[in-house]
């Protein structure tokens, strides 16, 4: 029997005062998704900007706040890109992920760093190591598929006596990515994407040490190396594409937590991140005949949080974080780049009350920054105090229904790109603020009629983004400048239903449905044609369906994604129209009859079954019908030792 050493307790979605959606390992394995970005398309309230294929940029905006307001967390600590402020979720393979959660706005937990409270939404990814067992485990998986896709991975976990355990994971992804699409002018279906190859590998090592005194020490080292072509937008009558992007990400993080008194806990964390992005346009019409951008980022981060139980059901925590970011540009075209650095101090007070029918969670976050630049003018220091409050209560003592309410005021700092990008950046920018209100009802039923479990959540929200940072043309189309001029009002509804039925030994069925309505309008400029128009690329309606069936050794997944039409620019006319789309995927897994400590699984996935030609971003066609097949092996060796 595997023992979870420090398993992150999945939040019971239906009880949470703060809206949370999640995809566990079993659901993820049925989703035909390669990356975290593919998987989060199944969450409601989420708009993924997907530029197509494995190599295409994929960023996530939650409830139309913009990608910069979504924090991405890996094993409890935030990932951060101080340069662009948003993370390409296409780079996170699902191979080593056991749980994805989306919190609106943050995880309602006390023992967390201050930075985890600084976003409008937090996307949390948990690696497999969070559910490590006491067994020695060795696993290997190999997948192949359309467009030259090849994807081997290995995983091992080795527990030692005395509470130490080490695990490692390595994965490689290779694809030509040259999928066919229907030519925009001729309708010719044999045209292919070009310069869309990807080659990346990822190495992850984890160390966990269960200390004698009930403390836990965890450490992780992560390395990712990626080389890809950028096929770019389809340009009519012009098939030239040659841009390249090479990136590297290294981070190492460690945390130690322990009970320091009967009702008090302390958690200390540290993280170092090094990130390199090298971009090459080999066809740039300058005298060098090319342009290069070589951006290097470093981040040093430390955090300490103290949490204490004041009375039954009542606890508080105080967290303090310091982070230091620097960005350097190291290429011959860097002319006058500011090479900025920034220190940020964040302190957070959080309060949690959970008793009887009532749940309450609130926090107050202080943020202070100081920027420095090598050349030019540095941004002014920012000082902000931002609160949040969430409450939920069960309607009656035994009601399956809960009502929840929450409010959060957030802001996002201007990124290094906003402030210092050559000719575009504006160092007098103010932060961008948002007010987020949510009201929702959740319901949960266990083992009634033929349902094993049924739950639903309905949330209605209102967000207002003020002083939104937007690029504006300054003199002509080639001279843009960042300005705090946006005002966006967002009204939306998120709906999610999950039902599991069927008895063990017979067909077991799991159904997940999600639906989102988003009315996200631009109120920036009453004299503009964009006034009160829907934000670009934001569908009013979107939804998903996931069906899972398991019967004997077979597991079948059937997944549908739907999106209504939207406009690429705000002005609603046919020239800006990007059409509605729906895709359907099917996956089948078969477990070979082996003993339970040696498992072999064969998997087959058919994506976009009906070969729907669609695009999420105009002129970035998405792949049509394609397949993947694979086989996985997993061997466990029982260890009996009394740690």
């Amino acid at each position: 029997m595997p023992v979870k050493v420090w398993a992150a307790k999945p939040v019971m979605e239906a009880n949470a005062a703060i809206p949370v959606q999640q995809l566990d390992q079993e659901t993820l394995s049925r989703l035909n998704s390669l990356s975290v970005a593919d998987a989060v398309k199944y969450f409601s309230g989420v708009v993924v900007k997907d530029y197509g294929g494995i190599g295409g940029l994929k960023t996530v905006s939650v409830r139309s706040l913009g990608a910069n307001h979504t924090g991405v967390m890996y094993d409890g600590l935030m990932m951060n890109d101080a340069q662009a402020g948003q993370t390409d979720l296409g780079r996170f393979s699902l191979d080593n992920i056991s749980l994805i959660q989306l919190f609106n706005p943050h995880q309602p937990a006390l023992l967390q760093p201050a930075r985890n409270f600084s976003y409008g939404a937090v996307l949390s990814m948990m690696s497999r190591v969070e559910e490590i067992s006491n067994d020695v485990e060795l696993a290997a998986k190999i997948r192949g598929g359309s467009f030259g896709f090849f994807n081997p991975s290995i995983y091992f976990a080795q527990p030692f006596k005395g509470g130490l355990s080490v695990s490692g994971n390595a994965e490689m992804q290779v694809t030509d990515g040259d999928y066919p699409f229907r030519d925009y002018e001729t309708g010719d279906a044999s045209v292919r994407r070009i310069n869309s190859d990807v080659r990346n590998y990822r190495l992850e090592t984890d160390l966990a040490y269960q200390l004698k005194d009930s403390g836990v020490l965890k450490a992780k080292v992560y390395f990712y190396d990626d080389k890809r072509g950028l096929p770019g937008a389809v340009v009519l009558y012009n098939r030239n594409a040659g841009d390249r992007l090479n990136s590297r990400l290294f981070f190492t993080q460690a945390s130690w937590q322990n009970k320091i008194a009967p009702r008090s806990q302390l958690k200390v964390s540290a993280k170092y991140t090094a990130d390199q992005k090298y971009y090459l346009d080999p066809n740039f019409p300058n005298s060098a005949g090319k342009i290069e951008n070589d951006f290097r980022q470093r981040e040093y981060y430390i955090s300490a949080v103290y949490a204490s139980q004041l009375a039954e059901g009542l606890g508080f925590s105080l967290a303090s974080d310091y982070q230091y970011n620097q960005l350097r540009r190291n290429d011959p075209f860097a002319s006058g780049f500011a090479n900025p650095s920034r220190g940020i101090l964040m302190t957070n007070l959080a309060l949690k009350y959970e008793r009887n029918r009532y749940h309450l969670f609130g926090n107050l976050l202080f943020t202070g920054t100081a920027d420095k630049v090598a050349t030019g003018k540095a941004a002014k220091p920012y000082r902000e105090l931002t609160p949040s409050l969430a409450a939920s209560f069960r309607l009656t003592a035994h009601s399956p229904l809960r009502l929840r309410l929450s409010y959060k005021r957030i802001f996002r700092l201007p990124t290094f790109d906003d402030l210092y990008y050559t000719n575009v950046g504006n160092t007098s920018l103010s932060p961008e603020y948002a007010h987020c209100y949510n009201i929702g009802v959740t319901g949960q039923w266990q083992q009634q009629h033929y349902f094993q479990r049924l739950f639903f959540t309905v949330d209605m929200y209102y967000n207002q983004v003020r002083d939104k940072i937007l690029a504006l043309p300054r003199q002509n189309l080639f001279q843009w400048s960042m300005q705090n001029i946006g005002l966006v009002n967002i009204k939306g509804t998120d709906l999610a239903v999950q039902a599991d039925f069927g008895k063990s030994g017979r067909v077991q069925t799991s159904v997940q449905l999600s639906y989102s309505y988003q009315d996200a309008r631009d109120f920036s400029n009453p004299s503009s044609l964009l006034y009160k128009t829907q934000l670009p690329y934001t569908p009013k309606h979107s939804g998903s369906v996931n069906l899972g069936f398991s019967w004997k050794a077979y597991t079948i997944g059937y997944n549908v994604l739907l999106s209504s039409y939207r406009y690429r620019a705000g002005e609603p006319n046919n020239s800006n129209l990007v059409k509605e789309w729906a895709t359907q995927d099917l996956s089948v897994r078969y477990a070979l009859p082996r003993n339970k400590n040696f498992k072999v699984q064969i998997l087959a996935e058919l994506n976009n079954i009906f070969d729907q030609q669609y695009e999420i971003i105009r002129y970035y066609p998405m792949p049509g019908r394609n397949f993947r097949v694979g086989i996985s092996f997993s061997k466990k060796v029982k260890r009996n030792h009394n740690a």
Partner: protein, 358 residues
């Protein structure tokens, strides 16, 4: 269980298709209209797709996607310039990389002259016509010569870095070499091409980042040296075409310049930097204002972008790019600066050229 599954599937399929129907919008089908009567073509370069629109001067009707209606085909991306020569019009498609030639009176496609057969592509930018030839500047540092009878490129001449607008004076073609892609090391010259031999005979130093140029009938050129947008200001430079020497210069912020009837019509468009965006008339001698605002009525233009003058009657057409992401507008003024008419070029974004159908 199987029954239940089928029922479930049926529900999803039905709700799914209803969903799709209720959330869909359809494109209009192309339907050619009769030949363009007296009116205007407006080229909008687009945020993404370029549009050729047609304005009927008699009825006041505007067809926003005339090229598609006539040809069932799209122009492509970033149409930078359009000129008429003889019975044909030439549309310079920058990103798409061709010169699209249409029959001037019907709008029917005659040929797409390919500028991407040279890897990585020439990025054509502006066109000017002279004695059976159309000259096309391209950002790869060339000027290509199109024979207007055969519609073939007969010659490609190397000039300076990233050439922009061109002007003709006497038997010389003058090409602005901006060097804009070499930022911050801009070019600062005009290339001089002999129109008889089609050879670059020399370069004239005018000031950094020259982009716009216009010629008068007295052998003078007026060149806008745009500066570096930071420390070096924008200036106008007067060049004697015969002697190839600079004879006058003055600092003034200008983005488009046209010579007409002994005056220079210029736009400056600084809508977000506090400078009012306006259209001025300048003296050709010292570039001082003949009028601080050419527009003499209350008409407000957000972002003057293109400026074309009807040489038959002196009407001035100014295109408004607004905030560069929404449908633009075209304004027609009489020679006294009073608005005669205006129209939206929806769905055209960033209109830059007006061409007359007489």
């Amino acid at each position: 269980m199987k029954f239940q599954f089928n029922k479930l599937m049926a529900v999803f399929m039905i709700t799914g298709s209803l969903f799709i129907q209720s959330c869909s919008k359809d494109d209009p089908a192309p339907s050619p209209v009769t030949s363009a009567a007296k009116g205007l073509y407006v080229l909008s370069e687009g945020g993404g797709d370029s549009k050729l629109g047609y304005y009927n001067k008699t009825t006041g009707a505007f067809l926003g996607d005339f090229f598609y209606q006539q040809n069932g085909s799209n122009l492509g991306q970033i149409g930078n310039d359009m000129i008429q020569y003889g019975g044909k019009s030439y549309i310079v498609m920058n990103t798409t990389g061709n010169v699209t030639v249409i029959d001037h009176s019907t709008g029917l496609l005659l040929r797409r002259i390919n500028f991407v057969n040279v890897v990585p592509g020439r990025l054509p930018r502006y066109a000017i016509a002279h004695q059976g030839k159309v000259f096309v500047s391209a950002q790869d540092g060339t000027v290509s010569v199109i024979d207007t009878a055969s519609l073939d490129i007969t010659r490609t001449i190397n000039v300076g870095a990233n050439p922009e607008e061109m002007a003709i004076s006497g038997d010389k073609l003058f090409v602005t070499n901006s060097g804009g892609f070499n930022f911050p090391d801009y070019d600062s010259t005009l290339s001089v091409i002999n129109l008889n031999t089609l050879v670059e005979t020399g370069k004239i130093r005018v000031g950094i980042n020259p982009q716009k140029i216009t010629a008068d009938e007295n052998g003078n050129l007026y060149v806008v040296a745009t500066g570096d947008y930071a420390t070096v200001p924008s200036s106008i430079v007067k060049v004697n075409a015969a002697t190839e020497t600079v004879i006058f210069r003055a600092d003034t912020a200008v983005s488009t310049i046209r010579y007409y009837n002994n005056a220079l019509f210029v736009t400056n468009d600084f809508p977000y930097t506090g400078l009012s965006s306006n259209v001025r008339m300048l003296r050709t001698s010292d570039f001082s204002n003949r009028s601080t605002s050419f527009i003499s009525d209350a008409t407000a233009i957000a972002t003057p972008y293109g400026l074309d003058i009807d040489e038959n009657n002196g009407d001035v057409y100014i295109t408004d790019a607004k905030d560069f992401v929404v449908s633009g507008e075209v304004f027609c003024f009489d020679k006294l600066g009073k608005k005669r008419f205006s129209f939206s070029v929806s769905p055209g974004v960033n209109p830059n050229s007006v061409v007359f159908i007489r």
